[in-house]
């Protein structure tokens, strides 16, 4: 970590010397590549980027970059990122999560982050499984996946992150695939540039607990239509979504959240006036 990196910044400048603990073959390596490329495309200095995460394989990503990072507790990364962005609107805040961290334990924060529409980017590396705890079903796990915790499958309908994001008011909704870093990088860069809360669901296969996801490479396809700024149209598209459509679904025009400002007082002592008898 040198004090200042000369411009132009290259993807390499965003990669730290920390070796990831991810399994070889994990999709998250490609997400790291895509993220560093996106940041290089944006030419934002690493010290002006904060990567905030929770718990899980995906959430290890901050330390693998040369950006500021916060690896917090399980499920709360969006809240931590929101607090950071509110006091430091000058920073580029990217929150990284996984399907367990983001959709299960952190589900409520997901809804309210979409609704609050603070100008930050939310990347969820979705592998439809809990990897760090040895392969338990997550909210996006298919109902018939046999696991130790749910022998024979959960029988539950998977959570649809894009539907939730759109319905909750996210201002930018996209799906990417880790196996295609250039496209993913482009989507991440666009998500960061887009004002307000940008959500990118990144399909990122788990080589260890979901070797069946090797076929994702063949199943993913670019969405046949361009992004819309009409939420109703985006919602209709999601009704026929097969879960493997890639690209930007929705670019909204909502104004990002800003705390209410007001005229500032000159002296702190003015605050006590209301108490004087």
């Amino acid at each position: 970590m040198s004090a200042s990196v000369p411009l132009p910044l290259r993807p390499h400048d965003y990669k730290s010397d920390v070796k990831p603990v991810w399994c070889p073959g994990c999709g998250d390596y490609h997400v790291l590549i895509a993220l560093t490329r996106a940041l290089a495309e944006l030419q934002v200095p690493p010290e002006r980027v904060a990567l905030v995460s929770g718990i899980g394989c995906s959430s290890r990503i901050p330390a693998y970059t040369t950006c500021y990072g916060f690896h917090g507790v399980h499920g709360r990364s969006l809240a931590l990122g929101a607090g950071l962005k509110l006091v430091r609107p000058d920073l580029t805040v990217v929150v990284a999560s996984g399907d367990g961290d983001g959709y299960s334990i952190g589900g409520n924060h997901f809804l309210h982050a979409c609704r609050r529409n603070i100008d930050m980017t939310y990347l969820v590396m979705d592998n439809h499984i809990y990897g760090m705890t040895k392969g338990q079903p997550s909210p996006t796990t298919e109902p018939d996946i046999d696991t130790a915790l749910a022998p024979g499958g959960t029988g539950l309908r998977p959570f649809n992150p894009l539907v939730i994001a759109l319905a909750s008011g996210a201002n930018f909704v996209a799906r990417a695939f880790s196996g295609n870093p250039p496209e993913t990088a482009g989507i991440i860069a666009e998500a960061v540039r887009h004002p307000g809360f940008s959500f990118v669901e990144i399909l990122s296969p788990c080589v260890t607990y979901r070797p069946d996801q090797k076929v994702w490479k063949e199943r993913v396809h670019r969405a046949p239509v361009d992004a819309t700024d009409d939420a109703a149209r985006a919602a209709r598209r999601l009704m026929t979504d097969d879960g493997f459509n890639l690209g930007v679904l929705y670019r909204g025009n909502r104004r990002p959240y800003r705390p209410h400002g007001c005229e500032q007082i000159g002296e702190l002592a003015e605050l006590e006036k209301e108490f004087e008898l």
């Binding site: 070889p24 073959g25 999709g27 760090m132 250039p182 080589v207």
Partner: protein, 176 residues
């Protein structure tokens, strides 16, 4: 993974693209070497380090041949694949911590073949300088392909692709 390849308008473009192809390859092999080091597969780590070193030498050779002090910046601009990746950027999702030298060679072979295809498509370029340089790269990549193939012939034939599930003597470990 190399559809939407960048267009080559000049010799400088081709040098910049070739530079990026080798740089990407070196970066990927370095990542794989680190993965193997992290996961205690020193044999594979060594192979990937060697591959990364060779690709880095190629990268630097191209840079000096190009005599373009701004080749990095130039590469950033022109060496962009609209979709997919530069040809020698090997697919990290094919990796496994128990992978064998043969797996690594197959991975490398696929990259060299893609690079061969990419340069080969430039053989009908109009610009004679581009055409000449592309032909040089084609023969280099062909040599790499041959090298990979000859090395592969010396490697034992592996078990089926899903063998890793059965070869893993220890169960994965719960971390968080």
């Amino acid at each position: 993974m190399s559809d939407g390849a960048p267009q080559v308008f000049s010799l400088a473009d081709l040098y910049a693209i070739a530079y990026q192809i080798e740089a990407d390859a070196a970066e990927r092999y370095t990542m794989l070497a680190e993965q193997m080091e992290m996961h205690n597969n020193p044999e594979l780590a060594g192979i990937f380090r060697d591959l990364a070193r060779v690709e880095a030498i190629h990268r630097d050779e191209i840079a000096s041949a190009a005599a373009d002090p701004d080749i990095v910046a130039h590469a950033c601009k022109v060496a962009r694949w609209r979709s997919g990746e530069s040809p020698e950027a090997v697919d990290l999702s094919e990796a496994h911590y128990l992978m064998t030298p043969r797996d690594a060679l197959e991975m490398a072979l696929a990259g060299e073949e893609r690079a061969f295809d990419f340069y080969n498509r430039l053989s009908d370029a109009v610009d004679p300088d581009v055409k000449r340089l592309a032909a040089e790269f084609v023969s280099e990549e062909l040599a790499h392909v041959e090298l990979c193939r000859s090395l592969l012939r010396r490697c034992p034939v592996p078990a089926p692709a899903d063998r890793w599930i059965f070869e893993d003597p220890d169960l994965p470990v719960s971390q968080e």
